[in-house]
Symmetry: C2
Subunit: 160 residues, 2 copies
């Protein structure tokens, strides 16, 4: 197997193994990795329509209707019709959603701890730079860029 092919499968392997770890860590919270991403994006980027949410998600292309369905059913996300455009729906976290987000951040911190145990800061920065080159310009790359431009760790208490 040449290096490029190995890269393909190592990226796939890293995604799968990371997802499985996250799956295990999130199981007690009753949310999936994709659902956790939605909750984190809604927490960080305020109320969003479905398309705007979709543009910030890495986990899925297109409009994440079904993904949001599950979160609404779990009373973690609220759907509100937009006042100025009745096609649009505005999504925001409920109180329960905001509480869930705190737990999700704790789980993510645990996962990040695991990752930092196997990789050095320099290695992480190097991989980030290279992968960024590959995905830049594509939807998932744009989503990551938009989100990494904003603070992931909340600097102030929630405005609620």
């Amino acid at each position: 197997m040449n290096s490029v092919e190995e890269l393909r499968f190592l990226v796939l392997a890293a995604q799968r193994e990371g997802n499985r770890i996250l799956l295990d860590l999130l199981r007690p919270l009753g949310v999936s990795p994709s659902q956790a991403e939605v909750i984190r994006v809604l927490a960080d980027h305020g109320p969003l329509s479905l398309v705007d949410l979709g543009a910030l998600l890495v986990c899925e292309t297109g409009s994440p209707s079904r993904l949001v369905d599950g979160l609404v059913a779990a009373s973690l996300v609220e759907r509100m019709p937009a006042v100025d455009d009745r096609r649009r729906v505005i999504l925001s976290l409920t109180d329960a959603g905001r509480e869930k987000e705190v737990s999700i951040r704790e789980v993510e911190a645990t996962l990040h701890g695991f990752i930092e145990q196997s990789l050095t800061t320099a290695e992480i920065a190097s991989v980030n730079a290279t992968l960024h080159k590959f995905v830049s310009g594509r939807p998932a790359g744009i989503a990551v860029a938009k989100r990494s431009a904003t603070p992931g760790q909340r600097r102030y208490a929630p405005s609620t």
Copy 2:
């Protein structure tokens, strides 16, 4: 967003975007990326039982019964009961499967060309080394290691 979190999403983004490119390239062949992986593994690693195949796949954990189902339905893979152990099933490529494999290798070469346009050889080697550290010891990492230990490009003509 800190570097570790960015790493998580860049790995996810790279996997998703790469998969979408492969999906498009494979569409004319009528096989999915996962099915293509099965065909490549069967071609390179000879007849295998379902569990042995599963151990070489990165795309899935557990025994890939359903994945193989589709390939058997498409007459690309053959199921044969093992003579010494009637629980086991021996999977091998049909003639059509071997022809399909040739096309799959061409598609992969195209994809690898795309990747090599955005990344240098040194970058690829560096990412590979780092991601390998992360997945080593885990099932998907073991699968990659086993497969990269064998020649991915066929050196001799098929024995058929």
